[in-house]
Structure formats: C-alpha cells, structure tokens
C-alpha cells in the first residue's frame, strides 16, 4: 500500500494518458462510424464498397498488428516516401497519434455496424411519413433519424466504448506511457508486480463502472416516452 502511495503520480499520469487516449480515439471512431454507416446505407455503389472493405479489413485484423504496422511500418514508409521524393528528410509518427489514430480507426469499423443497425431499426414508414409531410432530408435526419438512432445505438455504443477503453492498454507496446505501461514499469522496478497489477485492475474497474453509470443515465434520457414491451 505504501508502495502504491509512493508511485501514485505514476499511476495517476498513466490513468490520465489512458483516458486521453480513449476519449481521443472515441471521437475518431464516432466520425469514422457515422461516415461508414452513411456510406453503407447510401445508394452510391462505390461508397458501399469502400465502407464494406473498411469494416471487413479492420475487423479482420488483430488490433495489435495494426498498431505496430502504423507505428513502425508507417514511419518507415513515410521516411522512404520522403527519401524518394525529396519532399521531407524525416518525419516522426508520434506515439499518441499512432495509438489514438489506429484505435479510433479500428473502433470506427465497429461503430459503423452499430450505427448501421440502429438506423435500420427505425421503421421505414416514419421516414416515408416525413417525406409525405414535405420534410426535407436534413429535417428528417434531425427529427426522425438522429434521436431514434441514438436510442437504438446506445447499448451497442456502451459495449464498444468499454472494449475500446480496455484496448488502449495495447499502446504500451509502442512505449506510450498509459496505465498498464506505468503499472508494469513500477511493478518491475520495485519487484512488486502483483501489487501494481491489482491497482491497475481496480482503476480500470472504476473507469468502466463510472462509464456504465453515465451511459445508463443517457440511455434513460433517450428512452423517455418509450414503452418497453
């Protein structure tokens, strides 16, 4: 316990890094997810195919492989391009950008499916009713699709978010000092690995517990006026 207090700044820094990573990648994932869902449901064949390729590839490859590929492979590729074209001599893919970007793109694929399913769950008749009332597309989206999509998407969203929060632990491989990395180094430096792993366990449980509570409150809000069968 004393050891944990002594190393508390390490644990706190790690927790903050984990949260920053999770939230940044969440924003990226939501953007990719909305775009992906829109592309998959659009009438445009090219958009459909691109989105299909995106979800198939990203969901089919282990997260760790993609992270390593972007962080190491990406930097070598970029520098080779620079060397061949002579446009730049050296660029660095930052650990945070590689980590948050890759996790965001990966989970964007899962959110694509979540949002697509949520939009498809909206009864087609409601949208047709909107059209017959003379509503234009943006208005239909704002008043009919968006509020219901959120409601249908929330359980899947909660699920994805919890997995995403834990996936950030993978970035410790590329040297980003998140909660797992800091707990590991502290554990190895002091020879008390179990103590620090137990602390990381409790902190992750707190983070996921709080998220769960908040998201349940949001779910209640979006379910107002809906009679449960």
């Amino acid at each position: 316990m004393n050891l944990l207090l002594e190393y508390q700044s390490q644990l706190i820094d790690g927790t903050i890094m984990t949260l920053r990573l999770a939230l940044t990648s969440l924003v990226i994932a939501l953007i990719f997810g909305l775009l992906g869902a829109w592309a998959k449901l659009s009438a445009n064949r090219l958009a459909q195919r691109l989105a299909g390729a995106y979800t198939t590839i990203v969901r089919g490859v282990p997260d760790l492989v993609l992270i390593l590929l972007v962080f190491f492979g990406g930097q070598v590729t970029l520098n080779n391009i620079g060397a061949v074209t002579g446009l730049w001599s050296y660029v660095e893919v930052s650990q945070f950008a590689a980590g948050a970007g890759t996790i965001g793109v990966i989970f964007g694929a899962y959110f694509t499916e979540t949002f697509r399913g949520a939009i498809m769950a909206i009864p087609r008749g409601q949208i047709e009713a909107g059209i017959s009332c003379g509503m234009r597309k943006p208005l239909i989206f704002r008043h009919i699709i968006w509020p219901q999509m959120i409601r249908f998407a929330l359980p899947g969203f909660t699920n994805n978010w919890l997995v995403q929060l834990k996936t950030t632990a993978l970035v410790s491989v590329i040297g980003l000092q998140d909660l797992v990395y800091n707990a590991f180094t502290a554990g190895r430096s002091t020879g008390q690995l179990f103590t620090f792993m137990a602390a990381a366990f409790v902190i992750y449980l707190l983070l996921t517990g709080i998220s769960d509570l908040l998201l349940r409150a949001v779910e209640r809000r979006y379910n107002r006026g809906v009679v449960r069968a």
């Binding site: 590839i57 190491f72 492979g73 990406g74 970029l78 040297g175 190895r188 020879g191």
Partner: protein, 263 residues
C-alpha cells in the same frame, strides 16, 4: 495483405499531419528500457535510474552532446531504432551475430556471463542431459533464447516478455530452471526474498555465437561516425574513472569483464 498495407499507409499519412517535426539534429536520442533493474528502472516520480542510464549520460557528457533518453519497451527496441525513433540503444543489449545483421554495435561496455538458476533442492544437473525434459524459462528474443535452444535441445524452452516474468514463474514453480545474466539473477532474484530457496546451477555460459562479445551500444547500420564516437567515449570513461564511479554505485565489483560476487 496488399490492401492492409495501403490502409496503413493512408492512415500513416493522415497521422503525419499531427506528427512532430524532427527534434534538433544535434540532440542525440537514446533508447532505454526502464524495467531491468539494476541496469535501468524507474523511481516513484518517474525518473529513470540505473547503470545503463548513468552510462548513457556519461557518454553524452564525454562526447559533449545534448542527449534525450527515450523509453521503449524491449520487444520494440530494434524496430524503433530502425524507424529512427532514436539513434542509439543503451539497454544492456548483447552484441550478437544475429543482431549484427540488422544493426551495428559500439565496443562492449560490459560483459557478464550467463548462468542457470534452479531450486536449491534441484535433483538434476545443469547439463544438456540433466535438463532433458525439464522446463527452462528465458527472456524471449534475447541471447538466452538462442543459447538455451542450442545448448539444451531436449529441454522445453519457455519464453517470456521480460526477465522479471521469468523469475516470477520460477518462484511459482512453473519452470524448473531459468537461464539469464548471472548478475541480474544475483541482484534481482537470488538476493531478494522470492529467491531465497534458489541457487545457481552449474557454471558460467559464455558461448560467443549466442552471447557475442559482451554488451554494446546499438546504432543503425551505416552510422559509423556515431558508432566510433561511442566506442571512443566508452574507452575515455574507462580511462578517466567515470566508469568506475558509476560501476561502484551499483555493483561491488567491476562488471566490465567481471564476475558476480560470492564466486
């Protein structure tokens, strides 16, 4: 595979928008590990300490260069060097033939033999015959894996991500013996509470093919000027007493070519 490459390239290019510009060319960036006490570990406030860390700083002072220490997990150490995340590795990395195919090394800055560790009551010997059918724990990708596989073909080699995990599983009885640097085994296991019932098994192992010429500083291939500067700086701090001063902070004997105490 082809598509995946394209995707990662696209992602990487997108990310380059937020990538950092190159740190000043003059700053020498050194990759260190941070989880290999007493060579490198972390204090409670996050400060890096240890023999490797002090040596790295002393070499920078000797070469009169600005240095920045970059933490990197062991598994990604060589890829990160090649990707130019840093310019040199000071992380107790042994000079081996296999590594020399990928990267270059300075002259050695220390060399300690490897030894087996097993329970005090072990009823087997530290020979290829004695260890046949036994489980030997070693750190993955390290020199010990090469040697264990070559020397003990009939044993079951169990691989770990870090040396600390090897010691932990030995203490838990998941492996019968472990092979590692004798100094590390002495300092972080045998002299600790967890290692009270354990002892060295057999003598020194110093196979040149796997263990090479000692521990050196790794640089990218072709960086000959930096490599020679580092070798000269190692010789200089050996000469002027800085090395001895650092050595004495951590070890009761000279580890430049030395052996652990109590032999």
């Amino acid at each position: 595979m082809f598509r995946r490459t394209i995707l990662s390239s696209v992602a990487a290019i997108a990310l380059s928008a937020v990538a950092l510009p190159l740190a000043a060319q003059d700053t020498l960036r050194i990759g260190v590990e941070g989880a290999y006490p007493p060579f490198s570990s972390k204090e409670s406030d996050g400060t890096l300490i240890g023999f490797d860390i002090d040596i790295a700083k002393a070499l920078c002072a000797e070469m009169q260069r600005e240095c920045e220490l970059v933490e990197q997990e062991w598994d990604g150490m060589i890829p990160a060097l090649k990707a130019r995340k840093f310019d040199a590795i000071v992380a107790s990395m042994s000079i081996t033939e296999e590594r020399k195919r990928q990267i270059d090394f300075s002259d050695k800055y220390y060399k300690t033999p490897a030894r087996l560790v097993a329970s005090k009551d072990a009823d087997f010997e530290g020979t290829p015959e004695g260890l046949a059918g036994k489980r030997i724990g070693v750190q993955r990708g390290a020199t010990h894996q090469c040697y264990a596989e070559k020397m003990f073909p009939d044993a079951e080699i169990v691989l770990y991500g870090s040396q600390d995990e090897v010691f932990r599983d030995l203490a838990l009885g998941r492996v019968d013996a472990q092979l590692s640097d004798s100094l590390i085994a002495q300092e972080s296991f045998l002299s600790a509470e967890a290692g009270a019932d354990y002892a060295f098994l057999g003598g020194d192992h110093t196979d040149v093919e796997c263990y090479g010429e000692g521990v050196g500083i790794a640089v990218r291939k072709g960086e000959d000027a930096l490599r020679e500067d580092l070798s000269k700086a190692i010789a200089a701090i050996r000469e002027n007493g800085t090395y001895a001063e650092i050595n004495d902070t951590y070890f009761p004997f000279d580890i430049y070519g030395g052996r652990p105490a109590g032999e």
